[in-house]
């Protein structure tokens, strides 16, 4: 329990750092790692180059030392030959010695220069330089002078007076110098070797580390970025398919956490909206039903009194026409008003029934329905001298009476709303997906596009009743009937240029 909470806290702390920061930190670490490996390699290569250079210097120092030793031996041998031999051949011995005497300081200073970086060796060379100097100044040169002036003395001196011992001493010092120099070379080589193998180790280790880090970053990105994004994407797909309860878990506090939170908020809002929509839909349906019920009951109940009123008005006219004098016009007014009210109530009843009555669907040729409608409108068509053309029409699945009524209303309107010229009405149909679109086109007065929607509402009239009689309920009935069939109805029109009413009905299956 405690442990779980601790783990939880740790996860939260890690996930609070933004992904950007984490990616930057990881890249920086990788860069530092690669840089470090490079630096180590450079240091190693430099070290090896230095070692090679110093080994070369040491080799040169050995050569210079050997050269010096050789010069000294030349001097000593020349001296001995010079002292021991007779007057005629002594110059022959002296010449190489003199040359060596002239040459050795250069070798010595070269040797001094070559060991300048090693204090111990420098000290040894200094000692050797002193010993050589002593040998030359205190032995070789005095002996040459002595040999020139007093050859006999020189000859006796050379036997035991230690030129050889001096040289041996110098050679011993050289030997220790060389041994030390070789040791220096070896240790430098060892060190360079060690450093280079260490550098190789570091390089390989660093590369492995970089590889591991890359793998870790990839895994990390998968875990930390890709997986959460996929989760959200899946939830989005579920949401799109209508499952509004889809949510993603929020376990992070970085950018992906923000994304998850945003998604959930969006889903919450969607779900809430739909619930509200459904509620208001249900409400609307209920009040519509109540209204329909009310209209139906009211119009039905109003019919009887209206009939009674109309009957009484007829009785008054028949029985008391003589008594009324001019009052007969009033009775006419009552009768026509009553008639009007009855028409209104009839339409209203029809409207309230339309959409409520179950449809008697059957496969019926649309041409037949149009034919009936035109029969019913034979009077107005003839009166308006209208020209009606009907294309070949398909068979549709429809309720005979209602769809006939739709055609009747639309053609009736086309004949009614004329623009002074004789009406020209065209009826046709074309396939529209799994439906048929029917049209009723006229050359009447047309309407403003803004009115195109409104005219399908009940009792909506665009013109006064004096201009064009009617209750304004015909198009509302059409809209209900078409909607009940699963289609829709609309109009495209231009004022003065006529209108085209379209509606769709389902095609016959198969």
């Amino acid at each position: 329990m405690t442990r779980a909470r601790e783990g939880d806290r740790r996860v939260r702390r890690t996930l609070r750092t933004p992904i950007t920061t984490r990616v930057v930190l990881l890249s920086a670490t990788a860069s530092v790692l690669v840089g470090t490996v490079l630096v180590v390699l450079i240091v190693a290569v430099t070290g090896q180059r230095d070692a090679a250079r110093s080994a070369f210097r040491s080799q040169e120092a050995l050569t210079a030392g050997n050269q010096l030793e050789k010069s000294l031996i030349t001097i000593e041998n020349g001296l001995r030959g010079f002292v021991a031999s007779g007057a005629r051949s002594r110059e022959r011995f002296l010449q190489p010695a003199t040359r060596a005497l002239a040459a050795y300081p250069r070798d010595l200073s070269r040797l001094e220069g070559l060991v300048a970086d090693d204090p111990g060796q420098q000290q040894r060379v200094d000692q050797i330089a002193v010993a050589i100097d002593d040998y030359v100044r205190l032995w070789a040169r005095p002996l040459i002078e002595l040999g020139k002036t007093r050859p006999d003395s020189a000859r006796s001196v050379v036997v035991t007076n230690g030129g050889r011992e001096r040289l041996d001493g110098i050679n011993r010092e050289f030997a220790s110098l060389f041994a030390r120099e070789r040791q220096v070379i070896r240790s430098r080589e060892d060190r360079a070797e060690q450093r280079s193998s260490r550098a190789i180790g570091f390089g390989v280790g660093g590369l492995v580390l970089v590889l591991i880090l890359t793998a870790a970053v990839t895994l990390y990105l998968r875990r930390a970025v890709v997986r959460p994004v996929v989760t959200v994407a899946e939830a989005t797909a579920r949401l799109a398919s209508g499952e509004l309860s889809a949510r993603v878990p929020i376990e992070r506090h970085d950018e992906l956490g923000d994304l998850a939170r945003g998604f959930n908020a969006m889903a919450d809002s969607l779900e809430q909206n739909r619930a509200e929509l459904e509620r208001s839909n249900a409400e609307l349906k209920r009040s519509n039903a109540e209204l329909d019920q009310f209209a139906s009951v009211t119009s039905h109940d109003l019919q009887a009194p209206l009939t009674t009123i109309s009957m009484y008005a007829e009785l008054i006219e028949r029985r008391h026409a003589a008594d009324l004098n001019g009052g007969i016009a009033l009775v006419d007014g009552i009768r026509s008003a009553t008639q009007e009210a009855r028409t209104l109530i009839r339409d209203l009843l029809e409207y309230s029934r339309a959409g409520r009555r179950p449809l008697a669907l059957e496969e019926v040729p649309a041409g037949e329905l149009v034919g009936r409608a035109l029969e019913a409108l034979a009077g107005p068509i003839t009166a308006a001298h209208a020209q009606v053309t009907v294309d070949a029409l398909p068979v549709v699945t429809a309720d005979r009476a209602s769809v006939t009524r739709v055609f009747q209303n639309l053609v009736g309107n086309a004949v009614k709303f004329t623009a002074g010229r004789s009406p020209d009405v065209a009826i046709g149909a074309e396939p529209a997906g799994r439906m048929w679109r029917f049209w009723v086109r006229d050359n009447g007065i047309g309407m403003e596009p803004a009115d195109a929607e409104r005219i399908f509402a009940p009792f909506k009239r665009l013109h006064g009743e004096e201009a064009y009689p009617g209750t304004g309920i015909g198009l509302a009935i059409c809209e209900r009937v078409v909607a009940q069939h699963g289609g829709r109805i609309w109009v495209t029109s231009e004022p003065g240029a006529g209108s085209e009413f379209s509606f769709t009905l389902p095609a016959v299956e198969g």
Binding site: L33, V37, L146, S153
Partner: protein, 307 residues
């Protein structure tokens, strides 16, 4: 995880920087004494124990007084070391006056009187730009030594008696003995000795050669430590082939000038203390007891208040 990676990177970085190798520069500072000049006094010695000892005595006494001295011991015989002096490789070295006259100045008829010999030697040196400082009380003369047995066998008392020895007399001596007046040359001239043959030996080896019978006689010095206990017989030299051998430092006048009067004062003070008994004691300590001449000289100088 991230902290670990950083730590590793840091460690790698640090390791890369290490191992550069320090090797700081070593500055050697040397402080000179309060001597009058920058150049140190270059002192040489001849190549046998007494000469080396003398070099230590003069050098240490001078160093104690603040003169910078570079001591080059064991250079060689008079012929060589004097050549080095005149060639400018040395400033000073202690020399035996008799040898100086006979072998360097080539003065075969040198005075028997030590003071006259000293004056002659000094005059010789001064002609060449050098001079002699005060001479020592002791004289380390050359002499011929034989074993008591050999002396008894041939009835030897003086050098002249060697003529009676049948066959060759092998004389163990330094190589220059063969060519020196104070050697085969003088012995032949003054005593008419023709049966001597020199066997060249490093100085100091001749006693062992005598003991082993490799030589019949040996050229020795009268201050040799080996002569302390009467194990050898010194042959008398009535015709004075071997002159007196007091010691005096030969010094270049240039060095004398640059180092001031202190140089001569200190050297003279040392010379004054070097009696025959003192020298023999010190020689015995070095040659017979195998002590370091440096330590022996140090001890003597401290005892004589010269250090």
């Amino acid at each position: 995880m991230r902290r670990t990676v950083l730590a590793v990177a840091l460690a790698v970085l640090l390791a890369g920087c290490g191992g550069g190798g320090g090797g700081g520069a070593t500055a050697t500072t040397s402080s000179s004494g309060d001597g009058a000049t920058d150049a140190p006094l270059r002192m040489g010695t001849k190549n046998f124990p007494e000469a080396v000892l003398l070099g230590e005595l003069y050098a240490q006494a001078l160093q104690a007084k603040g003169v910078r001295v570079v001591l080059k011991p064991n250079i060689g015989s008079s012929e060589i070391i004097h050549e080095a002096l005149t060639g400018g490789a040395l400033d000073i070295y202690p020399e035996y006056i008799g040898v100086l006259l006979s072998e360097v100045a080539n003065d075969r008829l040198r005075p028997v009187d030590p003071r006259a010999a000293y004056r002659a030697a000094k005059a010789f040196e001064e002609r060449q730009g050098f001079t002699l400082l005060a001479m020592t009380p002791f004289s380390d003369s050359n002499a011929l030594a034989v074993t008591p047995g050999y002396a008894r066998k041939h009835g030897l008392r003086t050098i002249a008696d060697l003529r009676r020895v049948p066959g060759t007399v092998r004389v163990g001596a330094p190589p220059e003995f063969a060519t020196r007046f104070e050697g085969l040359v003088g012995l032949g001239q003054r005593y008419g000795l023709r049966n001597l043959r020199a066997t060249p030996l490093t100085i100091g080896r001749q006693y062992r050669a005598l003991d082993s019978g490799r030589v019949d006689a040996a050229a020795v010095f009268t201050t040799d430590g080996q002569l302390v206990d009467k194990r050898y017989v010194l042959l008398d030299d009535p015709r004075k082939v071997f002159g007196t051998q007091h010691v005096a430092p030969v010094v270049s006048r240039a060095a004398l000038r640059s180092h001031g009067p202190q140089l001569a004062q200190v050297a003279d003070a040392v010379s004054k203390r070097l009696t025959a008994s003192a020298m023999r004691r010190m020689n015995a300590a070095v040659v017979l007891d195998g002590r370091d001449p440096r330590a022996v000289a140090d001890e003597f100088l401290r005892g004589a208040n010269l250090k």
